[in-house]
Symmetry: C2
Amino acid sequence: MGIDPGLAITGYALLDKRASENMATLLASGTIRTNAKSVKSSRLGAIFTELMSLIKHYKPDELAVETQFIAKNIKAAMSVSEVRAVSLIAANENEIPVWEISPREVKEAITGWGNAPKEQVQLMLAAQLNSTEIPSSLDASDAVAIGLTAYTLRRYEKIFNQGIDR
Amino acid sequence: MGIDPGLAITGYALLDKRASENMATLLASGTIRTNAKSVKSSRLGAIFTELMSLIKHYKPDELAVETQFIAKNIKAAMSVSEVRAVSLIAANENEIPVWEISPREVKEAITGWGNAPKEQVQLMLAAQLNSTEIPSSLDASDAVAIGLTAYTLRRYEKIFNQGIDR
């Protein structure tokens, strides 16, 4: 399960291994939207409830959530951190290991280039999933990319020991 | 209930109104410590479990958690944000309204001066609680100060409408 955390919109994606190929297939993806007029604890609570329900339904083996180590806007970074924590709590409550994936790792894993533009990520994403069903919402497709990155890292086990819950 | 969020050490304090006076009394305070060797989702999960248990035991009417709008260290700010989110989720799961209190508001409420040094906050805290039982742990006494600030703001209802969940 990949998660692109955001207080207003959190993207999610459920990926599964294909039986015959060394590739992933997209089971589901979507967005969790919260009401900007609600108080923050309710908004975080709504995201928590929705993630718990998705985890209970799809029973993912692992969860990948986007993290950032550098941020230009500290207020935005703190807001994203809060939603990331909600994802981590939901994973922990369900005893699912978590990967924290940086935007750079996503770009590297999907395109082979850490500074790739967003458009290239989208194009390569479609190619790697062997599917035309990439979600139109950028938040949901970002979650697909995050999940796919964890899937790719796991497959190659390049950073296996350092990869979980850095 | 006041919470001073931190990944390594989270301080908490439970305050109650005195029947005869317009003052607060300290019911309990302490710290939640997490193992630095554990993965982050487990550490956040441990804080969540402990806060849920404290809330279930003491049934606080309101919860106050320290927030920060400016941070020198973005990594520390993001880490504190994650633990703050854990507090907000615990409050929301128990349908308790949340106050987000800034360090400046704590200093203003406790000492009357937004730039007061830490030592003065500690001294005034002891005086306002009319108690010598201020916890020796700085994390726990910060949580007392945060809880007392929310209590004071509520008592005067100075910022009542803006105060909840800013």
